[in-house]
Structure formats: C-alpha cells, structure tokens
C-alpha cells in the first residue's frame, strides 16, 4: 500500500464512508471507548486499576472453556454471547479468588492479584493452544481476544457491544453520586447508611462488563488501558469530577474511533494496540497541556501577589 492509498483509506473510514459494516463497527467500538473512559475515572479514583487488569486478564480461560463446552455440546463455539458469558464467569471467579487469597492466605493484596492474574492468564494461554490443535476450523478467531481485532467483527457483534456500552454509560450517569461517595470517603458514606461493599461491587461489575464487551475490539491485554489512560489524561485537565468523567469518556470515544479506523486501514495490526496507542498520544498531550496550565496559573498567581 502506498502512502497515499492508506491515507485515503483511513480518511474514508474515519469519516464514516467505509461502508455499512465498517460504520456499525466504528460506532460500536466508539461507544465502547466512551463507556471505558467513563468507568475508568471511578476505577482510577477508587484505586482499582490493578484489580481491573486482573479481571480482564482472567477472562482468557473463560473464553477457552466456553469454546470447548459449546463445541462439545455441538453449538457454535465462536458465538460471541457464549464466549462473553464464559469470560464474565472467569472474571467473577478471579475476583473471588483474590478476595479469598488476601483474606485467608494472609497475602498482601497486590501479591494475591499478581498471582491470580498470571495463573489465570497462563491457564488461558494453555487452553487456547490446545484448542488450536483440535483443528475444528472454528478456532481461528479466538486469539484475537488477546490483542483485539475489529476486522473480523460482525455487524451483530458491533450492535451488541454498542448496546451494552450504552447501558453502562446510563448506569454510570445514574450512579454518579453513589460512586463519588465511595471513591472519596467510603467511611462517611457508610455512616450515612450507604452499602459501600455493594456499591463497590456495582463499580467492579461495570468494569467487568466493559472489559468483556471490549475483548473483541481491544483485547484483554489492553482493554483496561482504554479505561485508565483516558481517565489519567482527563485528570491532568480538570479538578471537577463530572468534567473529568465527560472528558475521559470523550477521549476514550475519540481514541476508539481513530484507533478503529486505523485498524480498518491496517487490518493486520492488532486493533487494541492501535486504539491504546492513540489514547496514549492523547494522554501525553493532556499531560503537557496540564503542566503548562499549572505553570501559567502559578506564574499569574505570583505576579498577582507581587502587584498586591
């Protein structure tokens, strides 16, 4: 592909002139980015970034097992709802294992998380390579769940992802107040009678939902980056929580949009990598803008003080 060719392809896709299927995929993946950016703010502020990573990595054995079970029952192992159900169950088992390990094995929580992340991911890798040896002909797409692949996404998949992402965005909008108190001062919330553990559970459930629907487009290795990186970028630009949520959602959506268009342009490159690279670029720009603004604020405060 010559330079002019890929640029033309990219521009066509990014401006939604890439055909119906591409348009549906772009919109679905962008909604995913918006949901990821929004929930990422709360995962970041509640200091659950590492836990989110554990849960997303832990989905891999769930996908492998769901494929095997479905294939054994004679169903289509590659059906997206089946695989996502397996992924969700595996993430829940991982969360319970972390909780159990740090409580009863007297391990520091980060050690428990590290152990669960690597063991689950290792199990998933073994299962996936075993599935490749089965040569059922249906296993081809499974490895895309690791680094993401938008090219193989069907219109139905994109609809499912977009619809679930929209639901997550609605849930975050409704539960904003509850999430805020849990992130800022859970003990104060508890004294008022808010069930902190249950609200935490809802927060992590939304993280898992976004991680699971993001597996196909972004992949389990990088889906959490699509939550945390836009949130960290937004944090550089504002001290207002709702502005931060809006900015992070916007940045997540834009990163997913541009990344998905790049993925359509370069179908061989992993979509997750492209999307997260765009998000990383947005983060660097935000960091520079934030630092520059802070410097400017201090300088103006100083000159103001000197004048007074």
């Amino acid at each position: 592909m010559s330079d002019a060719d890929w640029l033309e392809t990219f521009l066509r896709v990014v401006t939604l002139r890439g055909g119906y299927n591409t348009i549906v995929v772009m919109i679905g993946v962008s909604l995913l980015g918006v949901a990821a950016g929004a929930i990422g703010v709360f995962a970041l502020l509640r200091k659950r970034a590492m836990m989110s990573d554990v849960l997303s990595h832990a989905t891999l054995p769930g996908i492998g097992l769901a494929f095997l079970v479905a294939a054994a029952l004679g169903a289509n192992g590659r059906s997206l709802p089946v695989l996502l159900a397996g992924a969700t169950i595996a993430a829940i088992v991982a969360a319970l294992t972390v909780q159990w390990l740090s409580r009863s094995a007297r391990l520091p929580e980060d050690a428990a998380m590290g152990a669960v992340l690597s063991v689950f991911f290792g199990l998933g890798a073994v299962l996936l390579s075993y599935i490749q040896t089965l040569r059922t002909g249906a296993e081809g797409g499974l490895s895309h769940f690791i680094l993401g692949q938008t090219a193989a996404m069907s219109e139905q998949d994109a609809f499912l992802i977009g619809a679930v992402a929209a639901g997550v965005i609605l849930a975050i909008a409704l539960l904003g107040k509850e999430f805020r108190i849990v992130c800022f001062d859970p003990e104060f919330g508890a004294v008022q009678g808010w069930p902190i553990a249950r609200i935490d559970l809802m927060l992590m459930a939304l993280v898992v939902i976004v991680a699971v629907i993001g597996l196909q487009a972004v992949g389990m290795l990088l889906i959490v980056a699509l939550m945390i990186v836009p949130a960290a970028a937004a944090r550089q630009l504002t001290h207002n929580l709702w502005v931060m949520v809006a900015l992070s959602a916007l940045m997540g959506g834009v990163s997913a949009w541009i990344g998905a268009a790049l993925s359509a342009t370069f179908p061989r490159a992993p979509a997750g990598g492209l999307i997260v690279l765009v998000a990383g670029g947005v983060f660097i720009v935000s960091l520079l803008v934030g630092a520059w603004r802070e410097k400017w604020r201090r300088a103006s405060a100083r000159s103001h003080g000197a004048a007074a």
Binding site: K177, F188, A190, V191, Q192, L241
Partner: protein, 266 residues
C-alpha cells in the same frame, strides 16, 4: 423479641434508652488482644463530650465500632436506646482529616453536599436546595468565600472546617468528631468550638476524640477517659483529676503536675 424482653428486665437498659449515645460492654479485638475492653458509657443530652486518652487507647476505635465502621467483638452501641440502623439519619460524622485524599477532584461545595446524601435515596441527584443548604453551613464555619475552591487548595484548618460543614449539612442530633482539632490553626479552633457550643445550645450532643489535655475542661462538659478500658467518665471537672490522668497515661504524664496542674484544679 428475646433481647427486648431481656432489656426490659434490666433497669439500667431502661435508663440508657433516653441517652443519645450509650455503649454497653463494648469491646474491639483485632486478634492481638482487645483494643477496647468492655466500655460502658453514656453521653448525656445537650452536651459536649470529650474522649481523652493516650495514643493507642482505642479512642477512634470506640467511635468507629459504635458507628459500624469496625467490627466489635462484644457488646453494643445504642443511640437514643435504639440500634444504629434505625438512627443513622440523626447521626453526623467528622472522620479524621487524613482519612481522605485531598487531591480528589471535587470542590468545597461538592464535599459539603455529600452530607446531604443520607437524605437522598438511590439515584436521586443533589438539587439546588441542597447546594444552598451547603452554602449556609459553609458560612457557619467561615468558609463561604471558598465554596467553589478545589479541595486540593485548602490549608489543614480549612479542610477541617469543610469536614465540619459537611457534618452540619447532615442536620443531625448527635455528632461524632474524630480529632477535629488536630493540626488546625487557632482561628479554626475557635470557630469549631463556637460551632460545637451552638450545637449544644440547640440541644444536640457531640462526642469528640480530643488530644489536647489543656483545653478539655474549657471546651467540654463531659469526659470519657479511656485507655483500652474506661479509666473515668463524668463531668469534665470531676473526671480530669491528676490521679485519673496518671492512671490513663502512666509515667507519660509526669510533666502535667507541674506545667498544667492549674488547668485541672480550677
């Protein structure tokens, strides 16, 4: 049902029914021996109550266990004779200032409106009326000019005032404050004392973990002197005797006899 019958038989129970805050045989144990041991205590109506004792005496633990933030190993806390879950709306809380991240992206008003969350149900947003109430309470602690300020740009004393305004916004009848005077400037200390006295004059009760022995008798009506177990409790003047303080603090209090003995003999 069974415990209710048992309580009626116990006439001490009948007495505590009216106290805004009482504990019976309350103990907390993290597994390395009890931190709080069998505390029986009653806070009188319309009073400012200090919980005083050395570091590690279990002062904060007693409050947190009473408010359900930490698990108690035995005993119970009651509020107007009822269990916590029935009385939450009448209880305000000021946690230790260091317990939250002051870099959190919220404004002063945002923090104070959190005091209203207990009145709001699930999914109900904060309304303009709640924000107006928040401004009123900020004004009471002298922070009205800081309403839109980011909390990361407050001094320690200002942070404490915001926390107290948030508790006032709860519009409670019983307040718990955990070390509200720790590390604050003199102006803030005076403001907070005025706020607390106003609460008492409105018939409310405040239970305060306090560390400055020199001001206890000035600021408080009632004292619980604690060192794991109750050393003394009662009217501030009666409880704060040099003998009691020595029992609570042991050798660590040698300086008190000379330096501030006067403060305790008034």
């Amino acid at each position: 049902m069974l415990w209710r019958v048992a309580e009626r038989k116990d006439h001490v129970g009948a007495q505590t029914a009216s106290a805004p805050f009482s504990t019976r045989a309350l103990s907390v144990d993290y597994g390395n021996g009890p931190v709080v041991r069998g505390v029986d205590f009653e806070a009188p109506h319309s009073s400012l109550v200090a919980i005083v004792g050395p570091n590690g005496a279990g002062k904060s633990t007693l409050i947190k266990a009473s408010l359900g933030l930490q698990r108690s190993s035995a005993g119970e806390a009651r509020f107007w004779g009822r269990p916590l879950r029935e009385m939450r709306k009448r209880i305000g809380y000021v946690p230790q200032r260091g317990s939250v991240d002051w870099e959190f992206p919220v404004s002063v008003t945002d923090v104070v409106t959190m005091g209203r969350y207990g009145m709001l149900g699930w999914l109900r947003p904060v309304t303009a009326a709640h924000r107006r109430a928040a401004l009123d309470y900020l004004d009471q602690v002298g922070m009205a000019d800081f309403a839109d300020r980011q909390i990361s740009r407050l001094s320690g004393g200002q942070q404490q005032r915001v926390f107290v305004a948030r508790a006032l916004a709860q519009e409670a009848d019983l307040y718990f404050l955990d070390e509200p005077f720790a590390g604050v400037d003199a102006a803030t200390e005076k403001t907070l004392v005025d706020v607390l006295r106003r609460l008492r004059d409105q018939g409310k009760t405040a239970v305060i973990v306090h560390h400055d022995l020199a001001t206890v008798i000035d600021y408080f009506d009632h004292v619980l002197l604690l060192n794991g177990e109750v050393i003394a409790s009662g009217a501030a003047k009666d409880a704060m005797t040099v003998e009691n303080l020595q029992r609570a603090y042991g050798g660590r209090l040698a300086f008190l006899e000379g330096a501030s003995g006067a403060a305790f003999r008034r």
